[in-house]
């Protein structure tokens, strides 16, 4: 069957036949780099239009409907506008850091794409500490936010950045703990192993209630980590105008914007991989006919379908809930999410030891 | 309490009050120097209890300025109007902010629009107009060639 892994294999074979192995690897790297950047741009465009349409329908409006069919090219037009806009640097800003911050936000988001399994046998880098890599690299994004807030020479930006620092550092904990519950059950940090372990059922179904709890906690924590409403305190439009990117304009602003959406995609992809089986099709026990039909759907569609479902849920949060206050945000983490996820991890460990899961 | 009863109560409190005829409420005029003791009395007296200062303004009568205070009581629902005549060239009166906190903003407004100086006001600066502004816009003789449009 025609699949993404076949394409990669044939490209690799062709390159290896044509060039020596070192050069082939280098060429592959360049191709992957271009693909990642392309994926970035496409994801940005799709997610922005998706967000605008989702918000529009929830707010009983039509949303963008002028550019392209049903307004689907609106985000392309917006990107063009942002590209043509003048990127202002405020007087008194630390120019070096000010220009560096959006680039760092982008790089952090790009690095995260490496270990994610998009389809069967289709992964840029199947690193054996994949989960650890993701949680480590995703915390780099806070540096870019702090940098942007500090370098802007604006009090609103500074406040936003400081809020974001406190927020990401604390929510990293419960996100990490809920990821850990999957790792305990699988016994491996490698993402391909985690996906493989869900062949006969996704962890959210296999793992009883503790896994559902850790899934919910994961969802809440990553919403906070990506600075999305109701945890968008770093931006807090009605309080801090635009938070850390108040002073950014043009393409530098677009990079922040893009990085936010790619981050959302990545955390949802990770969530889909850990709890919803990644590219694994939906299999139910001994229903062989049903399982067989499900196998016909390509693995990449399974992965993207699950990821976009999670992205939709996060957007649903954003367009329904009011924003928390900074102290309530920290209360939620330290008084609710952290104790619950710690208790939960005990349950999961017990479950893993006793082999109670399916 | 009817206006007549109120009148007798107020006279008992402060014999030198001058009452004016007309209006649905009791109108009275007081000397600026006697304002604070009188205000304290009507605010604290249990049977009067004027705790709500709902309107504070000034009227320019070309010869003098008149401060107009509207008091009412949230307990007894009676209302009085207190007036005080000020010298137009050097209008000064004691502030009421210590007794009714709402007076702070209203007095700042009157200060910039009429030029009345409120003695012992905690923060007597321009609230609405820019800090450097000449003249008092709501006075009758105010002329502004730039900002006033004559039709």
């Amino acid at each position: 069957m025609w699949s993404l892994s076949d394409i990669t294999n044939s490209i690799q074979n062709a390159l290896n036949r044509a060039f020596n192995p070192t050069f082939a690897t280098l060429t592959e790297m360049v191709i992957v780099g271009i693909c990642v950047i392309g994926l970035f741009a496409v994801l940005g465009l799709i997610l922005v239009i998706m967000e605008r349409k989702v918000s529009a329908y929830m707010q009983v409006r039509l949303g963008p409907n002028r550019v392209g069919p049903k307004g689907m090219l609106q985000s392309l037009a917006d990107t063009l506008k942002l590209l043509l806009k003048e990127g202002l640097t405020p007087d008194g800003a630390d120019k070096f850091l000010f220009n560096l911050a959006p680039v760092i936000a982008m790089i952090a988001a790009m690095l995260l794409l490496a270990p994610i399994a998009f389809a069967k046998n289709f992964q840029i880098w199947d690193i054996n500490i994949g989960v650890l890599f993701i949680s480590a690299v995703s915390s780099i994004s806070v540096i870019s936010i702090l940098m942007a807030g500090w370098a802007s020479n604006n009090k609103y930006s500074l406040l936003g950045a400081m809020r974001s620092g406190a927020q990401i550092v604390s929510y990293e904990l419960s996100a990490g703990l809920s990821v850990l519950s999957v790792v305990i059950l699988v016994g491996s940090l490698k993402l391909s192993d985690i996906v493989q372990s869900q062949e006969n059922g996704w962890w959210i179904f296999k793992g009883h209630i503790p896994m559902i709890i850790s899934f919910v906690i994961f969802l809440v924590a990553v919403t906070a980590e990506t600075n999305r409403a109701p945890f968008d305190l770093a931006e807090a439009e009605s309080e801090l105008t635009a938070g850390f990117h108040t002073e950014y304009s043009g393409m530098k602003f677009a990079l922040f914007f893009l990085a936010e959406y790619v981050n959302v995609f990545i955390v949802c992809g990770v969530g889909a991989t850990l709890f919803l089986g990644g590219w694994m099709p939906l299999h139910i026990g001994n229903w062989h006919g049903f399982n067989h039909v499900m196998d016909f759907i390509p693995s990449s569609i399974w992965f993207f379908g699950k990821t976009f479902f999670l992205i939709f849920v996060i957007m649903w949060f954003r367009w329904t809930f009011p924003r928390l206050r900074i102290d309530q945000l920290l209360n939620l983490e330290w008084k609710y999410l952290l104790p619950i996820s710690m208790f939960n991890i005990l349950l999961v460990t017990l479950m893993a030891i006793m082999g109670w899961h399916f | 309490m009817s206006n007549e009863e109120l009148k007798s109560e107020l006279v008992a409190l402060h014999p030198s009050l001058v009452f004016e005829e007309g209006g649905e409420w009791l109108n009275m005029v007081i000397e600026p120097s006697e304002l604070i003791p009188f205000a304290e009395k009507i605010r604290s007296a249990d049977h009067l209890f004027f705790d709500y200062l709902f309107c504070l303004t000034c009227v320019d009568w070309k010869t003098h300025l008149t401060m107009v205070y509207h008091f009412s009581s949230t307990k007894y629902r009676h209302t009085i109007v207190l007036k005080s005549k000020l010298d137009r060239n050097n209008p000064e009166i004691e502030t009421l902010c210590r007794i009714w906190k709402t007076a702070e903003f209203h007095e700042r407004e009157v200060f910039e629009l009429f030029g009345v100086k409120f003695l012992h006001h905690p923060d007597l600066r321009n609230l609405i107009l820019p800090d450097v502004w000449n003249g008092f816009p709501l006075r009758k003789d105010y002329e502004d060639a730039v900002n006033m449009i004559k039709l």
Binding site: V60, W319, F321, P322 | D51
Partner: protein, 371 residues
């Protein structure tokens, strides 16, 4: 605690919120002194849209000045006009026909609902939920359409005239108001689902922006702001004008003294206004809608004060007349100005996010404050 907070120290952050800021709903300028995220002092700087309406009115006739007041509190412009018309009628001792009184009250209550609905959306937006804002505009639009059909305009209705209303109601009016009542009854429950019961919203509003009973009176607060602190101050009940004393409705009093209490007062007031409309809509008496008045109105020499309950509180009109065709001095006692003066007191010691929620719960309309 308050005294300690009042002193500015080194390391305090001074922030200008406004005049262009997403949550000041207009051009309010607040200079905030903060220690970290904690507010030490809030200092309003007003006047960005001060047009000196009081001075303007001194050169307008008693018929004309009513329409200028639409531009003050634009969300309850009809009620502002009502206050002015009442004051002129008081001076001229005009008897308003029964039909006009009912129409006036109906329009007042529709305006109140429209204003509160917009406030609800804006408050939800202030605390970060953007969806309610659009839902609020949907219902407001229905009211605006009714207004447009009968009064000829959507925002600054100019429907009031001394002695009654300018024209009779539109033939469709009753039908459309009935439709609106049905629509709004279902939608107001959605408001509760979406915002009122939401745990995040409650956490943002409860215990925030405390304004005690004594302070509410001392700061001259009125309307829902004061009623959220337990002060009985509904002009419609205490000093009934038009036909309010014949109507069945409750004065909503909440004793929570916080932002959430003020929120609840307004939410319940919408239901009360709806019930007033329901009582009146089928009982509009026949007759004249405008009393006969002279072409040129001359108020007798004297002072006249009338007050009405707008969506924001007590709106007073104080006219000093010298017996001419124009007022000698006119003073508008706007509810927003007094309510704003309590903001500093409420905000001290709170977070900056709370300040935004507090301003939302005060329901500030800047032209009303600046006049």
């Amino acid at each position: 605690m308050i005294e300690e907070l009042a002193t500015t120290q080194e390391g305090d952050l001074v922030i200008n919120v406004g005049p262009q800021h997403p949550s000041t709903h207009g051009v309010l300028h607040l200079v905030i002194t903060m220690n970290g995220e904690t507010i030490k002092k809030v200092e309003p700087h007003l006047g960005y849209i001060h047009r000196s309406i009081e001075k303007m009115c001194e050169s307008l006739s008693f018929r004309q000045f009513i329409y200028v007041t639409s531009r003050m509190d634009y969300l309850s412009s009809h009620i502002n006009n009502h206050g002015c018309a009442l004051c002129v009628e008081k001076g001229l001792q005009i008897e308003v026909p029964a039909r006009a009184q009912v129409i006036r009250v109906l329009m007042d209550e529709l305006t109140r609902i429209a204003s509160h609905v917009l406030w609800w959306g804006a408050l939800a937006m202030d605390v970060g939920a953007l969806t309610p804002f659009f839902h609020a505009f949907r219902e407001r639009e229905a009211i605006n359409d009714i207004m447009e059909e009968t009064c000829g305009a959507r925002l600054t209705m100019n429907y009031m005239a001394p002695g009654g209303v300018m024209f009779d109601i539109h033939p469709n009016f009753q039908k459309r108001v009935h439709a609106f009542i049905e629509l709004f009854k279902s939608k107001i429950d959605e408001y509760d689902e979406l915002v009122t019961d939401n745990v995040i919203f409650k956490a943002r509003m409860q215990g925030i922006g405390m304004l005690s009973y004594e302070d509410a009176i001392s700061y001259g607060c009125s309307g829902p702001t004061a009623r959220g602190s337990g002060v009985k101050c509904d002009i419609r009940k205490l000093y009934p004008y038009e036909i309010y004393n014949k109507l069945q409705f409750e004065e909503i009093i909440e004793t929570g003294c916080d932002s959430y209490a003020r929120y609840l007062v307004r939410m319940k007031e919408m239901r009360q206004s709806l019930s007033i409309i329901e009582q009146l809509i089928d009982n509009i008496p026949e007759g004249e809608f405008l009393a006969k008045t002279k072409a040129v109105l001359k108020l007798p020499k004297g002072e006249f004060y009338s007050k009405v309950e707008t969506a924001r509180g007590e709106f007073g009109v104080y006219i000093v007349s010298e017996g001419g065709t124009t007022p000698y001095r006119i003073k508008f006692r706007s509810p927003g100005f007094s309510n704003l003066s309590a903001l500093d007191h409420m905000a001290r010691g709170q977070k900056i996010g709370d300040l935004v929620a507090m301003m939302g719960s005060l329901d500030l309309v800047i032209p009303d404050i600046d006049r």
